[in-house]
């Protein structure tokens, strides 16, 4: 399956972070590659969303929505910020 990119989850990210996130730069904890959230490889699976590093396929973010709450796991990001 071809992933989409971080642009597709832009709305969800505003909902979570309260601000536009697609142009924020993130650094992969596994391989140190840096790029805008918009460029993350986004896989949408039944249960949730996994955003991966384009360089090494490492998980950067996992987003799972349970009823009214979204669980956000950012452990694959060494850094996320402007």
């Amino acid at each position: 399956m071809e992933p989409v990119d971080g642009n597709a989850i832009g709305g969800l990210l505003i909902e979570i972070f309260g601000t536009e996130m697609t142009n924020v730069r993130g650094t992969c904890a596994a391989c140190n590659a840096t790029g805008p959230v918009a460029s993350f490889a986004v896989y949408r699976s039944g249960p949730g969303i996994v955003a991966r590093c384009r360089a090494c396929d490492g998980e950067l973010m996992v987003l799972v929505r349970r009823q009214a709450i979204t669980c956000v796991d950012l452990r694959g990001l060494a850094r996320l910020g402007k």
Binding site: M1, Y43, G46
Partner: protein, 174 residues
Amino acid sequence: MTDDFPVLSAGPTPRTALDKWTFSVTGGVQQKTWTWPEFRALPAEQLTTDIHCVTRWSKLDTRWEGVSVDVLLDEAGYDAPYILAFCDGGYTTNLPVEAVTGGKAWVAFSYAGAPLRPEHGGPARLLVPRLYFWKSAKWVRGLRLRDTDEPGFWEMYGYHNYGDPWLEQRYAGD
């Protein structure tokens, strides 16, 4: 109803060459491992079943061929209450042993009469038709038998430990 089932994935499609592929049952005194030719030499069954996914689509009358998990566990000679299926790409999912024994689960290598395609989980995937499709782990490489229940990839985030579509279970605590 759909003609083909959507490819839902948490990551890129792994492509393990068959001469490197193995399937293992671990967690007991001795690990049992099969190569692809050894795995394909095991008795296999054909089955027709419905599959359901949490994104609401259901596909009826899908035809599969695979090795029953009963055969794999019997060959390995283990007995434990829980399993964690592990896969290429790092995906895991957990199940109670009773959900995958007694003719309820297979390691499937063929769909609709053809070898299972990588984007659909080939060369082999776990198939547990009675449960939500995320339990039917793609690119499965083995089962780890455990005395305690360890949540898998999606289960860690609260997805129900035993996704049974007939009970409409999706989230932990439902």
